[in-house]
Amino acid sequence: MAEKRITLRTTRFDPDKDKAPRLQSYDIPFSDESMVVLDALNHIKSHVDGSLSYRWSCRMGICGSCGMMVNGIPKLTCNAFLRDYWPRSITVEPLSNFPIVRDLVIDMEDFMHKLKSIKPWIIRKQEYPLGAGEHRQTTDQIDEFRQFSECINCMLCYAACPVYGLNNEFLGPAATALARRYNLDSRDQGIKERLPVIADAEGVWECSFVGECSVVCPKGVDPAKAIQQTKLDTTMRFVLPYGNREE
């Protein structure tokens, strides 16, 4: 019986040689039904072309490193099974809307800057002394922000967002979801420090609710919900008497 095979077309871009990215085809054995696109890339790197560059780490949908466009859809390649595509070929490209550094590797600098700008840590006006014990939370208080804390910063939502693609100044889905995660945390008191960034014209108000960010999220986070609820919250703070109060 002939060996089962599958064709991968991957983006190649050498900044020292190429003017623009191109696609290169690789015909590789599809030996195991549990193979994912990342396995196929690893096979190419190990047995066919060692110069192929891409990011990956955990291979189990936790680290968020291996996000790429698989047949035009942003996916974690460790969670994209070859069996779902075979016998058709698979096109693997770097995440959309980001500058390409080499092959399938994108420049994450803009995202890291945006992530830092929303201060994704618990801000206290005054820290309790350690001896005062832990900040206790009820289950309901944790449920308020839990889903937004599941984000693994894989940036698939940015690759799916046409608003970010058209305007890179937009704060974007993941950063806003993370800002909401901390703003909803009963231990946090930093909403006023985050408001200038999230309520800015390039913050939540740039979003026109395409909603694709929530569709592609591999962890079930709903960044579109975070953005729309932040719009409502910031409006209420502005409109209602005492809405801008210190909290």
Partner: protein, 139 residues
């Protein structure tokens, strides 16, 4: 997104990167993007129709003699199309209310489905009231 243009930058201090640009037809690539654009576009003919309505109201302020409501078949067809756009836009807007509105009742969040249904119910009641007022004036 589809890469539409080759734009490279090579500042001396940073590695050279390729900056992709979105193709003009990006919204035709996926059904979700296409429906999003349709949703946004429906506001344009709706705005045009409302501008015409404001103009008619302004003309009516001069009395019955200055008011000539258009009744050509083309305008009726345009109005029916705009009504379809208005209904679609309203449907998408109200359906998304469940995502946006986060209200608690007795410390428990109200389910999204209840919020959406209440929005549609309010829409129906408001439409019925406006229709009753207009029909009452017409008699």
């Amino acid at each position: 997104m589809v890469k539409a243009g080759a734009e490279s930058s090579s500042p001396s201090s940073a590695p050279r990167v390729f900056k992709p640009q979105m193709a003009r037809g990006w919204w035709l690539r996926q059904r979700h993007y296409f429906l999003y654009i349709v949703r946004e576009f429906t506001a344009v003919p709706l705005a045009l129709w409302l501008l015409w309505l404001l103009y008619e109201i302004q003309r009516a302020s001069t009395g019955p003699k200055g008011y000539y409501p258009p009744s050509s078949p083309a305008f009726v067809v345009f109005s029916v199309i705009v009504l379809g756009f208005a209904l679609y836009h309203s449907y998408t807007f109200l359906s998304l209310a469940g995502v946006i509105i986060n209200i608690k009742l007795f410390d428990k969040p109200i389910p999204s489905r209840v919020i959406v249904l209440s929005q549609f119910a309010a829409w129906f009641v408001a439409s019925a009231v406006i229709a009753a007022v207009l029909i009452g004036f017409a008699r």
